[in-house]
């Protein structure tokens, strides 16, 4: 990234960086450090005195079965959303990549859900599956399913998974489509001459060549499920019923909101930070691999 032709001077470049830096320091680094600091403090029951307790908040967290339950919920939620949205995005992309009439119209009709806010997406799905008046909820009842996401944890989970998947398909579709377009047509033609039938061609040529895109999307999807689905969960279930849809991010928010356990909430934030850093590192490894093909 070294360049020959550069401008000199110091005042100008520093002043150009100043606005970005001011915001980054005040709103990113200071709060992050405070989160770490806070995670080592403990307040008494009345919020009068605060004590420095080293890693006690973390040990409490590690001994808390509820926190493991939250982790499990997050894992289930992530795996389901990532699997469903990746596979349907891939299926649609493979179909739209064929030279058929109206391919561009299909493309437009499939990408717009990206623009819908997670919270709004949640409300749309809640309306369809609202037990008393939702159109699809009524259909389920008429088939004899006692559908109630407000009381049944599994139903609630299904609902947030569907809403989160719905919103993410367009993103995966778009990237798979770009990945497919990047495969040289002649490679597919060579495979056809080499006697590979369409299905075999897909699994031996197209799919391996898409795998860098798929890995990249997997990490992006996990980040999405971890953080961006907050709005969906808050609007559809508020983490309920009985904490069945409380993800790790939602718990940070909920625990801190009640104001009772700022230290525990901060400790959870730090755990999340570690997860994001790990995910980013993994993503960069794959991005590098992607460049090589």
């Amino acid at each position: 990234m070294e360049r020959r032709a550069l401008f000199g001077g110091k005042v100008l470049p520093y002043s150009l960086l100043l606005p970005q830096f001011a915001i980054v320091v005040v709103f990113f680094y200071v709060p992050a450090v405070q989160a770490v600091w806070q995670s080592m403090l403990m307040q008494d029951a009345f919020g009068i005195s605060t004590e420095f307790v080293w890693f006690e908040n973390y040990t409490i967290l590690a001994a808390n079965p509820e926190y493991y339950r939250t982790m499990g919920t997050t894992a289930v939620f992530s795996v389901l959303v990532a699997f469903l949205s990746l596979s349907s995005g891939l299926l649609l992309a493979v179909m739209a990549d064929k030279q058929i009439k109206g391919a561009t119209i299909y493309k437009t009709m499939l990408i717009w859900p990206y623009a819908v806010a997670p919270a709004v997406a949640g409300v749309l799905w809640l309306f369809m599956f609202q037990p008393s008046l939702g159109m699809l909820a009524k259909a389920l009842r008429s088939w004899g399913i006692d559908w109630n996401p407000l009381l049944n944890g599994n139903h609630a989970m299904i609902l947030v998974v569907l809403a989160a998947t719905w919103k993410q398909i367009s993103y995966n579709f778009l990237f798979f489509l770009a990945g497919l377009a990047a495969i040289p047509k002649s490679v597919i033609e060579a495979a056809a001459i080499d006697g590979a039938r369409p299905m075999r061609r897909f699994w031996t040529i197209v799919f391996p060549l898409l795998s860098p895109t798929a890995f990249f999307l997997l990490t992006v999807n996990i980040v999405y499920v971890f953080f961006d689905t907050f709005g969906i969960i808050d609007s559809v279930t508020s983490g309920g019923p009985a904490g069945n849809t409380t993800t790790m991010v939602y718990k940070v928010y909920a625990d801190g909101k009640l104001g009772s356990d700022l230290g525990g909430s901060a400790a959870q934030s730090v755990v999340l930070m570690a997860i994001v850093i790990a995910l980013t590192a993994v993503q960069f490894k794959f991005v590098e691999r992607r460049v090589q093909y």
């Binding site: 360049r3 032709a5 550069l6 401008f7 000199g8 110091k10 100008l12 470049p13 960086l17 606005p19 970005q20 830096f21 915001i23 709103f27 990113f28 992050a32 989160a35 806070q38 299926l91 179909m95 739209a96 058929i100 437009t108 009709m109 990408i111 717009w112 990206y114 623009a115 819908v116 806010a117 997670p118 919270a119 709004v120 409300v123 749309l124 309306f127 008393s132 008046l133 159109m135 009524k138 407000l150 719905w166 993103y171 992006v220 953080f227 907050f230 709005g231 609007s235 928010y253 801190g256 700022l262 901060a266 934030s269 730090v270 999340l272 930070m273 994001v276 850093i277 980013t280 991005v287």
Partner: protein
């Protein structure tokens, strides 16, 4: 034409894509439908798959007076708040990222790489992981319920800076050299050469960041306490009272339609820029 043109091969993609389009569109269609019925029909689940007759009344009421149950704020105000927030965030991000990327790519100064990493690391600190400390800082600065508080913390963006950096790296060095020979200093070069070259990149970024700003949820939820500062995405959530039969679903759905329409229009109308922005910010 690697595959033979069989009837099956011709029909299957259309069927799959049509099913996909229907599934994707159905929730929004249903919201649109609900927004055209009166409260009782929706409340009793008696909607049909064809539009009702209350559309104008519902939208007029929601935009100018607001829903009854919880927030009384007219959705018109919320739309304005959302629009201002999205606009400030998008423009602000572009402005500060553009100049900081310019400094990092085109200047040589002490701690240049440190500056780059300082910005880069913020990628790993999404607002969700530092939420209460950030809230406290904004509160201490007296910025709750202000547009500044709503937007400023969201304006710093490593993605936008990285995108501009990447684009600047593709600008041929000869261009800088030619400008120098023509007697242009760094400011002139930026204004006369770099800025015109960056227009498409800026536009693509604007599309993405406008959507990002419009769809913000967690941050405005914390920062806004007064109803007249609410954004529409927050407003709609507050209209839904899960345990309560008082939710006016036809109005909530009208609000949902209004909340998703602007960003969706941006995507559909500026599809090329949107795709470019999306693909490039993820590189």
């Amino acid at each position: 034409m690697v595959e033979r043109e069989t009837l099956l091969g011709r029909v299957v993609p259309h069927v799959v894509l049509l099913v996909g389009v229907c599934i994707v569109a159905f929730p929004v269609y249903l919201a649109l439908l609900a927004s055209t019925y009166d409260a009782a029909t929706v409340q009793n689940g008696q909607m049909s798959l064809l539009p009702g007759s209350q559309m104008l009344e519902n939208y007029e009421r929601i935009i100018f007076s607001g829903a009854r149950a919880t927030t009384r704020e007219p959705v018109g105000t919320m739309l304005l708040n959302s629009f201002l927030m999205a606009l400030i965030i998008a423009l602000g991000k572009i402005a500060i990222s553009l100049i900081s990327a310019y400094a990092i790519v085109f200047f040589r100064f002490p701690f240049r790489m440190a500056a780059f990493w300082l910005i880069f690391v913020t990628l790993m600190l999404p607002v969700e992981v530092r939420i209460y400390p950030t809230y406290k800082i904004v509160a201490d600065l007296g910025l709750l319920d202000t547009y500044t508080g709503l937007t400023l913390p969201l304006i710093a963006s490593a993605t936008a800076t990285l995108l501009f950096r990447q684009f600047f790296m593709t600008v041929p060095e000869e261009l800088v050299e030619a400008s120098k020979i023509d007697g242009a200093g760094p400011v002139r070069f930026f204004k006369d050469t770099l800025l015109p070259l960056s227009i498409t990149t800026m536009a693509a970024l604007f599309v993405i960041q406008f959507i990002y700003g419009w769809n913000q949820y967690l941050w405005p939820l914390l920062i806004t306490t007064r109803d007249n500062m609410q954004t529409i995405v927050i407003g709609i959530k507050k209209m839904i009272v899960t345990q309560d039969a008082l939710t006016e679903w036809q109005l909530a759905m009208a609000t949902a339609v209004l909340a998703l329409l602007p960003p969706v229009l941006v995507v559909v109308l500026m599809q090329k820029l949107f795709v470019k922005g999306l693909v490039e910010t993820e590189k």
